[in-house]
């Protein structure tokens, strides 16, 4: 699974993009966020407040209960501020 981080999520995790292989019990966006949080202090800090984290799966906005799998592209980013 490919995971991308943008804006301060990238700054806090120190990662722009990575390939991850979560354990089998990680089935949804919510599971994935909880698992990523345990990957290190930067991840824990970045994912401390999930109210300000948006998730896209294969470039579509996704809810916590949406399923994720090995071939998905998952992006984590703050609420958008363009325009």
């Amino acid at each position: 699974m490919k995971v991308l981080y943008f804006a301060w999520l990238r700054a806090k995790t120190g990662v722009a993009v990575e390939e991850v292989t979560p354990p089998g019990e990680v089935a949804t966006v919510g599971d994935l966020l909880a698992w990523l949080k345990g990957r290190g202090p930067g991840y824990a800090e970045a994912l401390a407040d999930l109210q300000v984290v948006r998730v896209a799966v294969n470039q579509e906005y996704a809810d916590p209960d949406q399923p994720v799998g090995p071939n998905d592209e998952v992006a984590l980013f703050p609420p958008v501020t363009g325009g």
Binding site: A11, A56, P79, V80, G82, G83
Partner: protein, 156 residues
């Protein structure tokens, strides 16, 4: 048409090209967003626009298609810049052409309001205390909510 680009654009040329040869257009509304030198009470030296290549274009195309479905538009254009921009520089342009002004005004307002809450761009501002990621504003969500019904995969 949508464009995501680093380089500047010329609004006059863009508007002329948008309606060239189409004499059904009676009204053309445009919004151009510029970089300000102030955020709250802090001065801003510059800002950097980051985005999610691929998803950005997809969302902009979808937002534009929604505008074309809701209003009788003859032409529409969204240009959004990325990279480092200084105060006074253009960030974004939205233009809508229709037979009459109301559809052009409304579609233009809709496009910029939805873009601000759905297209994956983020601003990093350079101020006196260093660089800071801009926080999303509730007033932007409220502005976008004016155009409800929301699409099912909305950001919120």
């Amino acid at each position: 048409m949508i464009r995501v680009q680093r380089e500047d654009f010329d609004p006059g040329q863009e508007l002329a090209a948008l309606t060239a040869g189409n004499h059904k257009v009676g009204g053309l509304a445009v919004f151009v967003g510029l970089v300000r030198d102030l955020a709250g009470d802090e001065t801003v030296g510059a800002m950097t626009l980051e985005h999610y290549p691929g998803m950005t274009e997809k969302m902009l195309e979808r937002i534009e298609a929604e505008a074309r479905a809701r209003w009788p538009l003859e032409a529409s254009l969204v240009i959004h810049r990325t990279g480092r921009l200084e105060p006074g520089e253009r960030i974004v342009m939205v233009a809508c052409a229709s037979a009459h002004r109301q559809a052009a005004f409304d579609a233009c307002g809709f496009l910029i309001d939805w873009l601000k809450t759905k297209a994956p761009f983020w601003k990093l501002e350079e101020g006196p205390a260093g660089a800071k990621w801009v926080e999303a504003r509730e007033s932007d969500d409220e502005a976008a909510a004016r155009w409800a019904p929301e699409e099912p995969d909305a950001a919120e």
